[in-house]
Amino acid sequence: MKFVIEGLTVYFPYEFIYREQYAYMVELKHALDARGHCLLEMPTGTGKTITLLSLITSYQLANPSLAKLIYCTRTVHEMEKVLDELRRLHLYQEKEIGSSRAKILALGLSSRKNLCIHPVVSSETSRESVDAGCRKLTASWVRAAAETNPDIETCSFYQGYEKQGSEQPLPPGVYTLHDLRVYGRQRGWCPYFLARQMIQFANVVVYNYQYLLDPKVSGIISKEMQKECIVVFDEAHNIDNVCIEALSVNLRQNNLDGASRNIHKLNQIISRFKETDANRLRQEYNRLVEGLAQQGNLHGSDNWLANPVLPEDILREAVPGNIRRAEHFVAFLQRAVQYLRERLDTDTVVKEGPVSFTTTMSTAAGLDQKALKFCYDRLHSLLLTLEVTEIDEFLHVQTVCNFLTLVGTYTRGFSIIIEPYDERMPHIPDPVLQLSCLDASLAIKPVFDRFQSVVITSGTLSPIDLYPRLLNFNPVIIHSFTMTLTRDCLCPMILARGSDQLPVSSKFDMRSDPGVVRNYGRLLLEMVATVPDGVVCFFVSYSYMDGIINSWNEMGILQEVMQHKLVFIETQDYVETTLALENFRQACDCGRGAVFFSVARGKVAEGIDFDRHYGRLVIMFGVPFQYTLSKILNARLEYLRDTFQIKEGDFLTFDAVRQAAQCVGRVIRSKADYGMMIFADKRYNLPNKRNKLPQWIQSQLREEHLNLSTDMAVHIAREFLRRMAQPSDPQVSKSTLLSQEDLEKMAAMPNF
């Protein structure tokens, strides 16, 4: 359908549109008109992606000055889904306005691991080894050498791309990663480099968060994006954590050991070069005197390590004298590693700011702050000069340099924490030196500054007013949309008491109480006897889950549960969990029924959908607070309080509730679906937790569903399931949809 929003013709590939989708478009358009950032919350299952794509591409058609839509997703799977939707939209646009006007080029970009088509390299398992394998075949000196010596292997796809592909643009259309690989095979061009080249010409680019937020990657990939771009962060409820992770480094004993080995190897290579090709090292020295800034103009395939700090923080000046010579630099690194090793060898927890850390570092080991700042670039330059291709072997020294550069550059917003062992397992020594970024706004600031409009959207952004403070920006539009439902297909409940009327909670002093454990067990047992097909349970942490499952096993509850449903458990092992999920689905399909035990903040809670019969009920056992004794968390809380005036309790509750909402949101993925959610903890009953739940859950949380005990919850569940099993009336579901005529009517009314 085609309709007009305040003068903008919007092409929407479906015949009907939900009310909230229309409202979303209106708000989004206001934000784009104002050239500002916006923060929009709309529940999952309402077609957020197509709404965004539809409005923004229509906006692009109307305003050709707009450069690009940059759509950031969290996973490759989501990326492919976005591109599929976009293809449908594109076909519709072509039908409506002809293929010449609706010409767009849209493509997904991912790492070499997902795009490589080289028969040998692509069979590597890890991302780093694919990268290294590629570099061995495509580095400029390798190719230069191959020209004279035909025995040296190169990548035919890269050569093909280099010969023709880099000049010829891709024909317009929508390319998923799969399409790119197919196209690459047909032409014999490397899809990865093709895609990287083509994002300059594309109208829509879909890629991972990292490509914009992590300065190490964005420096290479997203450098040339114009200001007139619209950036969308989808599923952005955890965006602050992504930002923080992008700028945080952890060093462990094995990193330092590895770094020492790397340094040793570098020394060997340097001495070999000195004998054979001393001239090269001298050239590099001269280049460094002129400053790092001029070292640009490197060949396309060679820029593979970008600085971990943000663009405007890089000094445009010459590298300090004491690390210009290769052997000096290596010695410098050696001293740094030695110093870090000493710091790591401690019995007490140490917490320091970056300033005091660098000061002690310079007095104790003679490593001055200015030189630290250049470590990463200097290493990059050295590795290039030495023509090192096995970068996967030099990961450890890269990590160390990454750490040194960050520590040397930032004086605020970071903290260094050295812990001799894990709090939870004090008898196992596992020293770790953590450089932890405390300020999520650091990493995202350049994105806000550089681009005209940034859209942050997700199904759960509540409480929505906290995000602008966390990310330190001023959105022009903040809006939370609710879902118009044809029937009450959501049934959230807050269970505060067990079957014996005693309160249940995962609070620290109550969680090991056998009464609470038994009450939780009875709840699960009653529920698996009431709810058909799939049930998902979320626990607050792995250790809590292990403990409670153990107790249930001893009490015999687990055996009783198994009479009704099969039990599957998420583990920290990825392959095992995938297998468990697959079997879980099968058990649901063939009618046996299954329960999945999982952990909030785990892989399953973030990325796996339990829609339709795979998840008729989700039980959240306890409130998933972060581990409050964690030093990093405490440092961050302190920083948030001092800098952004966010109270510790507020932030902790916000974080716990958004995780809980994220978990329970797994069960409902569309309006035709239905599911129940049980928040099993008395603390959810408190208004400060309850009111932080997303609007679309709160609106369904009826008064009589609060403060329940197990038997009442079972009763409600029975009634709900019977009601939902009745065939839905197609007449009623029409009423939440708007057709083209409805929209025209609405547009005619001036005060809508």
Partner: protein, 411 residues
Amino acid sequence: MEKRSGQGGPAFQEDEEMEEEDKAPDMEAWERAYADDRSWESLIEDESGLLKAGDDVQQQRQHRRRLIQASGPRIQRGIIRYLCLILDFSRAAGEIDFRPSRMAVVAKAVEDFVREYFDQNPLSQLGIIVMKNGIASVVTELSGSPEAHIRALKSNLESFGEASLQNGLELAHTYVQHIPSYGHREVVIVFSALSTCDPGNILETVKKCKAARMKCSVVGLTAEIYICKHISQETGGSYAVAMNEGHLKEILLEHVPPPAAMPDASSASLVRMGFPQRGSEGAVAICACHKELRIGGGYICPRCRARVCELPTECSLCGLALVSSAHLARSYHHLFPIPTFDELLVDASLRGKSSFAGSCFGCRIQLSGGGSLRLRCPRCKRDFCFDCDVYIHESLHNCPGCETLQEEAVT
């Protein structure tokens, strides 16, 4: 002929009356009214906690919606059905969310269903399979006598163990294989459990059932279960979940009217049937079904002269299908149903007008007062009340208005 009809159809009507009389003494009049329609269940609690009586007119509409769905256009229907009733008497059937227990409620509903089934499908047969303790067992073979089914079912009421849909379907599948091709193969599963505990892959069994052209429908008691939905969708059956006892009965009875004929069986084929004579009073014969000496009554197979006790049935000696002509006649209305009546919306503007006054053509009740829908026969344009509409469509199968019109035309 007269005697026979005295023994055939109305026999169970008499039984019902007997039951009514049995019930009456130990239940006072005021109790009885409530026990029958369970009016407390239709009470609705609004937000402020006030109780409101359920909307009568709304309920009537709902009832009619079901009727309308069932009727549709005039279609060829499969009159000769072979229906396998699979009952779930697993542990879940012992739950007491229906009083006194799910199993008792199911048994009662099935009893009504069996009677109604043979009343409306006199040429059809029915067999009962029970799932319990992980296995499926035959309670009654495919046969035609309602009383035998009900008796066997009542002696089999206990619940334990798991339910296995696969075993149930496999057993039904072996049953149906011997059914002649003109017969409709149907399975109705009444399922209390929430899971099925199968020895193998049930999806294979579903495919097999589909290939054997079995139409499997499921009546659930608790919640929507994916596999049940899958079974019914794959095999072209229906799936419904009961909200309460009344609803359970209602959705079970939806399986009573004969289904649309199978598309590939459209070519006419002849079925050999016998119309036996009533044995004379006082004649002594060995009954073929009970294997013992009986005096008087019974019917004599026209082909092999064997004596059988009840109609319709299959002669146990020569295998001939035995029916009475009254049975055939009773199936007639399915082929020529009376049209569904149209609801006239009572508009405030119309209320005063003369065309809207008047009473029900059937029972002369005033229709203008509200409390009942106003329904008009599309053929004779006469108005009826809701109760008469139900009576006409579910019991009478003749429209009084149209009949009088025909009489007028004749005279």
